[in-house]
């Protein structure tokens, strides 16, 4: 997969991609260590909040209500941003957004543009589109530098280079950054190397692109949450700033920030507050960029909105708590999901942004439905419920080909058996007899066909000689 193509186009089914990832011992160790560290931190900063569940309820209620009247809030946002001196653009899809951003920069004869880490720009493949027009995007978030300079793809929405350890990062920096011949693998040293390389860029490149964590319809304010200060650099030094936001990022009122300013940092970086939050409205004389563009991106979001059972998907504030808690993500890492959006949120969001049939159809099944993600989600997205809903859509879409679909045939046959107690009792007998050739020492050690996945590493309990109902009937007599 090209690192410059749109980040949500899935090219490989999850089971196969996961199989490769599971073999990578370094990745397993890096991700396992990282997720367990951040889980413990999150638990601690959430536990100290007596009103955490009330905050989650409020976060959910604000998002739900906003999405149910999204047209109204977007129009209000457009009006307030325009009144504050900004320009608002609407983009139907990634291609249109990329073209708009490219046109604005080309109009200024820009050759380089600074970038704040943005999932939305990754989703639409903005970097590749700009490069193709001769405009070089310069990632400024430390992890994005690691990913960009490593010609790599992100594996986590918060810490994109979570799959890399210090030794690997040192190699990348030595190869790609200036003045690094004496670089050690100390995180302090690595961060300093990035600081030196980027400081000169911040002071010389007058164009910047950002995403948006929130945009307030009432005041036209856009908010960026960050840790390193590269965000503040990009938001205050350049002459021209372009922010790209998914249409679901709007919130109605400034007061609503009181919920999200608490929910996001604790769920995301597991801190009481992340180091820097910037809020700005349009342009301001003598302060920050002279030109501000806000691009409102649909790119499939209105389709998600139209599917009522899945609508809550758009509540997501991209905190990554669901990735960090997920037992599947912990073992496969992010790249197995083949998308900008990995982990549980990716398993519901990505398939809704890929036209079926697609390898993305495998993502709703990439979960044991353990429910840990729902428990930690700060905006209460019932991810397991949406996974089941999306599985239903995949099954229904395959419906026309049922005759060729082994699983559907088995499911239909089993439904018929369960509908009829007499068939059910017969099936028990048939299965009890049918399994006999497979039993060794009281366990089933190897099965044919699609069931072989079970017995590859696990014995299977054989069907009992006497079912419970047979015992009950015998006892009654």
């Amino acid at each position: 997969m090209s690192v410059d193509s749109p980040g949500i186009i899935v090219e490989r089914a999850f089971p196969a991609a996961a199989r490769d990832a599971l073999r990578d011992s370094q990745l397993r160790r890096n991700i396992g260590k990282a997720t367990n560290t951040i889980r413990a931190k999150r638990k601690a900063v959430v536990a100290e909040m007596p009103d955490w569940q009330d905050l989650r309820d409020a976060g959910y209620a604000i998002k739900r209500d906003t999405l149910r009247h999204l047209d109204r809030h977007l129009l209000a946002l457009e009006a307030s941003v325009t009144a504050a001196g900004g320009t608002v653009h609407w983009a139907r899809d990634g291609e249109e957004a990329n073209r708009m951003v490219g046109d604005i920069l080309a109009g200024h004869q820009a050759k380089e543009v600074l970038k704040i880490k943005s999932l939305t720009t990754d989703e639409i493949g903005l970097n590749g589109a700009l490069s193709a027009r001769g405009i070089e995007p310069i990632e400024t978030d430390l992890a994005e530098v690691i990913v960009q300079k490593g010609h790599d793809r992100s594996s986590h929405i918060l810490v994109p280079a979570i799959h890399r350890n210090r030794a690997e990062i040192r190699e990348i920096f030595k190869r790609e950054l200036p003045d690094t011949e004496h670089l050690t693998d100390e995180p302090r040293d690595l961060a300093d190397a990035a600081r030196r390389y980027l400081r000169q860029k911040f002071l010389t490149v007058p164009y910047a692109i950002s995403g948006a964590n929130f945009a307030v319809a009432e005041t036209g304010s856009v908010a960026i949450f960050e840790s390193e200060g590269n965000g503040r650099m990009c938001l205050t030094l350049p002459r021209v700033l372009i922010s790209i936001m998914g249409i679901e990022k709007v919130i109605p009122r400034w007061a609503d920030m009181s919920a999200f300013l608490q929910l996001l940092p604790r769920s995301s970086t597991a801190e009481r507050m992340n180091p820097y939050n910037s809020v700005w409205s349009g342009t301001r004389a003598g302060e920050g960029p002279e030109e501000f563009h806000l691009v409102l991106l649909d790119n499939g979001r209105s389709d998600v909105l139209a599917d009522e059972p899945a609508r809550d998907t758009l509540n997501c504030i991209r905190c990554s708590a669901c990735l960090n808690i997920c037992p599947v993500y912990e073992r496969t890492g992010g790249r197995a999901y083949g998308s900008t959006y990995p982990g549980p949120i990716g398993a519901i969001l990505t398939p809704q942004m890929n036209a079926p049939p697609s390898p993305a159809d495998s993502l709703p099944f990439a979960s044991s439905l353990c429910g840990a993600c729902y428990e930690v989600c700060p905006v209460k997205i019932d991810i397991p419920r949406i996974l089941v809903h999306l599985r239903g859509k995949v099954v229904a879409a395959r419906g026309a080909k049922t005759a060729l679909d082994g699983e559907a045939l088995v499911m239909a046959a089993m439904a018929r058996v369960f509908e009829n107690p007499r068939l059910y009792a017969l099936a028990h007998k048939a299965a009890a007899i049918g399994q006999v050739p497979f039993i060794r020492d009281g366990a089933i050690k190897s099965l044919p066909g699609p069931l072989a996945g079970w017995t590859a590493m696990r014995d299977l309990t054989p069907i009992a000689k006497q079912s419970f109902r047979e015992w009950w009937k015998a006892r009654d007599r």
Binding site: L22, C370, A415, G453
Partner: protein, 247 residues
Amino acid sequence: MKVSLFISCFNDMLFPQTGRAVVSVLERLGHEVAFPLEQTCCGQMHNNSGYGPEATALMRRFADVFADAETIVCPSSSCVVTVRVAYPRLAAATGDQQLIARIADLGARTFEFAEFLVKKLGIEDVGAYYPHRVTYHSTCNSLRGLGLGDAATRLLSHVRGLDFVELPRADECCGFGGTFAIKNADTSIAMLTDKLAAIRGTQAEICTAVDNSCLMHIAGGLSRERSGRRTLHLAEILASVEGGVAA
């Protein structure tokens, strides 16, 4: 009290001894157990795999079979979660108001076995004796779907002779997840491997839980690695008395 037992298709065919243990404990406590023979499957597998229409038909069937049951008890938390959480959604999707009301009522009458003992009857000591070292795995459905809390470990704490040892990371999924174990066998096995290591670390002979589906997954791994440890449903521990199992 008259208790209607929903055994679940899984326990009926693979783990009949769990059902016998439930009957034995309930009768020991002085309750009358009924077993409607028309029962088959709650539809969990169909629902979770995306076969909503089939699951809806099985839901209607379940509601008919247990229409007159005052209290339904089931030794499988994932089936109880299906009845309580999935059924209302399936019912809502039909738009049939009468069905929606029936299903809401059904959910209020359905209990997981340990939950029934501790939360409904208020009993923690069922007079069991089980002189073994035991660890407890909190299955995802009981922990997060049901909100079982510490009901199971309270029951275990009153079992005479039992040496209880806490399982590290007990709240993490074992990797079963129904068809997940087959569709994503590699990831499932990676999850199971870590669960088995945690169980080994406790030095327990027995790993217990309130779901035989997860226990079958764990047992499949323990058996394959000849670990000398095994799994046992909580009901079977609670049914044990001095001089052997009563059932």
